[in-house]
């Protein structure tokens, strides 16, 4: 027993619970002291959680290792060296970016699967009109949980997981700029998950992932407070992670790794971090204002006290529109990366693609009110936000042209990552084009809050970001685990997921145009046929994750050993063993040329034998295609 009690997670839980008790006890004492006997109770759910949780969070961080390996130093003490080996590293406060990357990937993949299972229940409910499985309350709880967990997965898994693992390798660094901050940032994630699950168990909350007041202020369910606290914590993860990436790219590049030689995936993470480190605070601000309204009696969103519910929408979308680019910029980078390696061609129009990413960053902060055309905001805001929103198609178009130029006349190695990359291109195009109808005020007045919007953002986020996530998972699986996945199971997964995805979300455009509202548990029976079809397709789509999970779990345990560079790819992460040695590179590499020197016999990214970096065209032709 004592050995288990000393495990970091157990200690974290113990300290967390103790912290929570201290927090609520302190709150209770103050309440009793100030409110006296007539003022009521020592316990107030909203307030007690709002004070108790931050104390619990500190306790948790101390327990999982934040004190032993870092905190002591702040108080003049000596810290321990992190010495765990083997699998135990993944359950502690490891500062190694490769460990942290895998911690993120596994945690968020589990959350992804859990959230996917939840939405299977939601789809079951929606198979026909009337209420079968849920009532309105439980439906909202399930749908809200699905929404926020998927948003969290989409924001964090590519950057937090694969960014952490791959980016330092790609730029020739030994680690991130702030390794211990990196560990701390990851260990903020489990409390987010615990809090969200607890919120559901306590009855959930009603407001979806967007937490609009006045409902967020008025509903009495405690889940709302837990949701706000969870998402503020998650915002902190996003901010601290982004700062770490920015500083790492600026200061940790290997000699010769100029900005013009950065692999495009690194650029994608960099651009996403530029958005995340700044805008995320707005979401935190909005959620904090809700908490203040509920707990301290302010009236930010309370019209009778001079506040305005529309203010929340401005603050919320000021973050949440840019957030979609936090999801998709790493995906853009990743897809361009894969297309170049697996088409055996240099990335087409590299500079323009980077320019496109920077253009998206620049525009992302000035389009948010396109989510508010029907909210009752000032009419004169409609036209500028329409125009600004549609301007974004220019930088996005540059990235698309780079993708198409790269595969144009290339010799494609159509393996699983490549399939997902191509699937991404198709899906994202659909998402982008349908976005235009939502950005046009006249059509949006009609389409807003219908299933058309649901289809649009699933094409961009699931069809885009999540397809990219799958591409990344297969592409770097051999590097991260040292094992090879099964190509056949992977292809099965791709085709099931691709077809299933179209069958679920294409009809949603139609049913949306025909007027079916989103976020409802019940609907007029006229929509029955559509919904039955969508639900059956959704089960098929859900089933595609069985070969996925099976493939990756079994391959990780006993797949064939992977080579250092199974794709004959040129960038630095492929020039070290799979998985890479503890400090990444035996010696700091020197970069001498562009990142994708395919088809150019004399050009190298790093000095080395031909056939590794800069393999001749067709060098990988032995694959599936």
């Amino acid at each position: 027993m004592p050995a288990i009690a000393r495990a970091p997670i157990v200690q974290g839980l113990i300290f967390g619970i103790v912290g929570f008790l201290i927090g609520i006890a302190g709150t209770g004492l103050v309440r009793v002291a100030f409110l006296g006997r007539d003022g009521g109770d020592w316990w107030s759910t909203d307030l007690s959680w709002t004070i108790g949780y931050p104390v619990a969070l500190v306790g948790w961080l101390i327990g999982v290792g934040g004190w032993r390996y870092w905190g002591r130093e702040w108080f003049g003490g000596e810290v321990d060296q992190y010495e765990m080996k083997g699998w135990q590293r993944y359950f502690g406060f490891s500062p190694d970016h490769k460990v942290i990357g895998i911690q993120y990937v596994v945690t968020f993949t589990l959350l992804f699967l859990l959230s996917g299972l939840t939405v299977m229940l939601v789809r079951y409910e929606l198979a026909q009109s009337g209420l079968q499985l849920f009532n309105n309350d439980t439906y909202n709880a399930a749908m809200s949980f699905h929404g926020i967990t998927m948003v969290a997965v989409a924001v964090a898994i590519l950057a937090g997981g694969f960014g952490n693992y791959v980016l330092p390798l790609q730029i020739g660094a030994q680690d991130m700029a702030f390794p211990r901050l990196n560990a701390l940032t990851f260990w903020l994630v489990p409390p987010v998950a615990i809090l969200l699950v607890t919120a559901v168990l306590m009855g959930g909350w009603e407001t979806g992932w967007s937490a609009y007041p006045p409902l967020a202020n008025l509903q009495t369910k405690p889940g709302q407070v837990l949701f706000n606290l969870a998402v503020i914590t998650f915002g902190l993860v996003s901010i601290l992670g982004a700062i770490n990436f920015l500083v790492t790219v600026i200061y940790e590049r290997a000699p010769g790794m100029t900005w013009g030689r950065l692999p495009i995936f690194t650029w994608g993470i960099f651009a996403a971090s530029l958005i995340a480190f700044f805008f995320t605070q707005a979401f935190a601000a909005g959620l904090a204002m809700i908490l203040f309204d509920r707990v301290l009696g302010t009236s930010f969103f309370n019209a009778s006290g001079g506040g305005s519910a529309i203010l929340y929408q401005h603050v919320f979308w000021f973050y949440s529109h840019p957030a979609v680019y936090v999801m998709v910029l790493p995906a853009f980078g990743l897809i361009l990366e894969i297309l170049s390696h697996l088409s055996r061609k240099p990335l087409f129009a590299y500079r323009w693609a980077v320019g496109g990413m920077i253009g998206i960053v620049a525009l992302s902060g000035v389009v948010w009110a396109h989510h508010m055309f029907t909210s009752g905001m000032q009419d004169y805001l409609h036209a500028p936000f329409l125009v600004l929103t549609e301007l974004i198609s220019i930088p996005t178009g540059l990235i698309f042209l780079a993708a198409i130029g790269t595969i144009w006349a290339g010799r494609l190695w159509v393996n699983v990552p490549m399939l997902f990359a191509l699937g991404f291109l198709f899906n994202f195009l659909m998402g982008g084009i349908t976005g235009i109808y939502l950005a046009d005020v006249p059509t949006d007045l009609f389409l807003h809050d219908t299933y058309f919007v649901v289809a649009h953002f699933h094409y961009t986020i699931m069809g885009g970001e999540i397809f990219a996530l799958m591409a990344a998972t297969y592409f770097w699986f051999p590097k991260m685990t040292g094992r090879m996945y099964s190509e056949r199971l992977g292809q099965l997964h791709f085709w099931m997921m691709f077809i299933g995805f179209q069958l679920v979300f294409l009809p949603m455009f139609d049913v949306g145009i025909k007027g079916m509202n989103r976020r409802v548990a019940d609907f007029p029976s006229a929509y029955d046929d559509f919904n039955l079809f969508i639900t059956l397709s959704a089960f098929f789509l859900g089933a595609s994750f069985i070969p996925f999970t099976w493939n990756l779990v079994v391959s990780w345990i006993r797949g064939p050993k992977a080579e250092a560079n199974p794709y004959r790819a040129s960038t630095l992460e492929w020039q070290v063993s799979s998985p890479p040695p503890e400090h990444n590179f035996p010696e700091i590499p020197e970069v001498v040329g562009p990142p994708y020197p395919y088809g150019q016999p004399d050009v190298r990214h790093v000095p080395g034998p031909a056939g590794a970096a800069g393999a001749p065209a067709g060098g990988g032709g032995g694959g599936g295609g």
Binding site: P95, G305, G307, V315, F318
Partner: protein, 187 residues
């Protein structure tokens, strides 16, 4: 002051630049949080300021905070020149000014003629509260810096902790330089 297992081998100067950049980015990030609250103030109340707001107290508090930036600057310079005794004195002075400021905020709250549930009150209490919590954090960090200085852990070559705390203190001051006119002077 870094002994992390995975600390990357860099020269002390580069390590310093890395830490500074990280902190700057954190300030930029926080400025979006403060900015959101300031924007909400104008969105909800326009430029309205209640007539009976205690302007004298506000002006005095602002001056105290500005002077504390000066003492913080002196503290860092002293440490950077190896003058630990003066550095310690200036840290204490900064902490004292910070505490007076906090006392002033509490006074302001208790004499205010408006409630948190009114439009202006919402902004006033939340903005001053948010800012005061940052001042309080700064005082705690200054306390840690004092302890490090007292134990002789800061040398002219290596005193990032001191520098970081003082940067933070200046940042919190600058926030007030925006919050003060937004809350007191727009009317």
């Amino acid at each position: 002051m870094s002994a992390a297992a995975h600390a990357v081998a860099h020269s002390p100067e580069k390590r310093l630049r890395i830490s500074r950049l990280g902190l700057w980015l954190f300030f930029l990030s926080e400025s979006c949080l403060f900015g959101a609250f300031a924007a909400a103030r104008f969105y909800m109340n326009g430029t309205y300021v209640p007539d009976d707001l205690n302007q004298i107290l506000g002006l005095v508090l602002t001056s105290i905070l500005l002077v504390s930036s000066l003492t913080a600057y002196r503290a860092e310079t002293a440490i950077a020149h190896g003058n630990v005794a003066h550095g310690k004195l200036m840290i204490l002075a900064t902490m004292l000014l910070g505490l007076i400021f906090l006392g002033g905020v509490i006074t302001e709250w208790s004499i205010a003629h408006f409630e948190p549930s009114e439009g202006y009150g919402t902004s006033f209490f939340s903005m001053t509260g948010l800012h005061a919590s940052h001042v309080a954090t700064g005082i705690l960090f200054l306390g840690l810096a004092y302890m490090f200085a007292a134990r002789g852990k800061y040398t002219p070559a290596s005193h990032w902790g001191m520098t970081g705390v003082v940067m933070y203190w200046h940042f919190v001051d600058v926030v007030w330089v925006f919050f003060y006119p937004a809350l007191y002077l727009t009317g």
